[in-house]
Amino acid sequence: MKQTIIPLGPYHPLLEEPEHFKLYVEGERVVELDVEIGYNHRGIEKLSEGKTWDQVPYLVERICGICSTSHPMAYCLAVEDLVGCDIPKRAQLIRVVVCELERIHSHLLWVGLAGHFIGYNTVWMWAWKYRETILEICEKLTGNRNHYAMFKPGGVRRDFNKEQIDYGLERIVEMEKPIRLLTDAILDDPVIHKRLKGIGVLTKKEAVDYSALGPTSRGSGVPWDVRYDEPLDGFKDLKWKVIVQKDGDVFSKGVVRLLECFESISLIKQALVSLPEGGAIDADIREVPPGEGCGRYEAPRGEVFHYVRSDGSNMPYRHKVRAPTFNNLPTFKASCKGETIADVALITASIDPCYCCTERVAVVDKNNNEKILREKDLLKLSVDKTKSIMKKLGKTPPLYNMEI
């Protein structure tokens, strides 16, 4: 049969971000798939190496609008690992609250998008309506709906007062009922079962082989969760369980996310109730000694990994970021082949991909394996572009320090 290439992206209603899937199809069946990313590189790691230790959380928060707590969390854990300090109990629990609020809103966002992808716009709108309450709680507790700016190496920036804690507890308890309604509506819908069950199966072995992370691995029966495995401060004193489903299909991944929302609600309740009265919220790190540290945190999409290296100055000498989509992306090779186009669209969405988080660039000459665009070249390209735009607008371009 003749093979046709069906493009998904770079611009496609299915994708919130630009990326390009090439589907090689025979009729409606996909026989091979290529993924091209790299439309969204922003040079975060390099930028981070020019900021002080305290400024970096502001930057890494902007790696991803949805995981805007997970990246700072992993970064702070990395710095704390380097420094070797203990975090005050109150700060640990405040971190748990913010992180779990983020998990619920991220999962509800995904449920809504998944509904939209299968043409079920009612689920989309309802999930996002309930997500709105979570964002209101976030706003009340942290001051922002997203990009909470709560974390700093050594603790948190802002404390919760009594009124905020009461508000958070009251609203989060309210949330259980509508999320239960949504979950039941989705889990009991026969058409959704027909559409999602047995689609894009990632077996347990494949999930381990590809090092799949987060709900993608937990949907395939691999109980990996950094919060539980590490275990992280704050989480280890609270009662909760890792949600695992065995089937590995799109439906299982959805079920994992929906059920995780209830675990998160329970975690938030426990953390808010058990917040110790008063006390410090910051370990007050004065300086960062030479050395290196790693931070791992379970973002809604899977494990986020940050590595920092210090030469004793006030900035990271090297900062490496790895987002979960980087690991989950190659699983498409296992889960998409043999499926129809209608299903592949869903499977690609089922890992809850976040491409702009993933993108770290290295342009390599295929023939001699040499890097042809180095950091210096990229910065120069960027500066030149800004200069040319400013010139067009008739403004004086700012002076840049080109030394790297």
Binding site: G115, G119, V191, I192, I341, A342
Partner: protein
């Protein structure tokens, strides 16, 4: 002259467009309220068509230019003709002719065939996937619907709209019997598919194919297609009213609203199905139900 008036003004083009576009608004507004959204103002459908009309029409290089523009207009003309034949009989403005019910059903198929022509000549790979889905869908929902039409016609003893309506005036509406209720349910799903609405919006499938079969349509050509779809949203429920109710304008309007409620309900409570599911569904369950209704009708239940 009278025929031209029927075709262009009442109950043809102008009347059907206005009612159709208002129905589109009703559909969008109710869907929006179901989804906790505000929804568009009542004139949104007219504004959309108006806007499209003064946009540039872009014809893909590979397409055959005049055919590309003519096909949707041809589809629009057929739909208007179908609605005119239906309404003229419904409002007892004319006698109609033998076999008009079959003619009307196939006139409603022409926009789909026009789309298939456009999609396959446009050279776009996503459109071609949409085309293959549209063909399969067209074949699948036609079978149960034809069974129902034949059943109703054989009850009335003639393939003419007028005689089907007359039969119901004397013997009571089809929908008041069990066979009528079953076949009405089947017909609702068939027209949902014919209108290309969720869960049967496979040829367009925004999030899979990015509008698929419609992808290369633009400007006035797209407006013609949208308008024919709006008119179908008036025409196809009208078709069901004639098949299942057949008498009285007030009852007809109520049934029209009931059909719209069902169509909107189905649209908002279902995800998109896959094409193989849709085919199995129509050729299996739906055709089975239509045959069952036929058997019941034979025994007069």
């Amino acid at each position: 002259m009278k025929l031209l008036f029927y075709y262009l003004i009442f109950p043809g083009f102008i009347f059907a467009s206005v009612i159709g576009l208002l129905t589109v608004w009703l559909d969008r507004k109710v869907s929006a309220r179901v989804q906790w959204r505000q929804g568009p103002p009542w004139y949104q459908g007219f504004a959309d068509i108006g806007k499209l009309l003064y946009k540039e029409v872009i014809i893909p290089e590979e397409a055959f230019g005049s055919g590309f523009i003519a096909a949707p207009l041809f589809g629009l003309a057929s739909v208007v003709l179908a609605v005119t034949i239906l309404c003229v009989s419904f409002f007892s403005m004319s006698e109609g002719f033998i076999g008009d019910i079959i003619v009307v059903w196939y006139l409603f198929a022409i926009p789909a065939i026009a789309l298939i022509y456009i999609g396959s000549t446009s050279g776009n790979p996503l459109s071609s996937v949409g085309v293959s889905r549209e063909i399969k869908l067209l074949l699948s929902y036609d079978l149960p619907m034809i069974i129902i039409i034949v059943m109703m016609a054989s009850k009335a003893g003639s393939f003419s709209i007028q005689s089907i309506m007359d039969w119901q005036r004397i013997n009571g509406s089809n929908i008041s019997n069990w066979y009528g209720i079953i076949s009405f349910a089947v017909a609702i799903f068939c027209i949902q598919a014919k209108l290309g609405r969720v869960p049967f919006d496979l040829p367009e499938a925004e999030t899979e194919l990015g509008s698929g079969i419609l992808m290369e349509l633009s400007g006035g050509v797209l407006a013609a297609y949208e308008l024919s779809k709006a008119i179908m949203l008036f025409g196809l429920p009208m078709f069901l009213i004639i098949l299942f109710w057949g008498k009285g304008i007030i009852g007809g309007i109520l049934l029209y609203l009931l059909i719209m409620v069902l169509l909107i309900l189905i649209k908002n409570t279902n995800p998109r199905v896959r094409i193989d599911h849709a085919m199995k569904y129509f050729w299996g369950w739906m055709s089975g139900a239509a045959i069952l209704a036929g058997i019941l009708a034979y025994f007069g239940v």
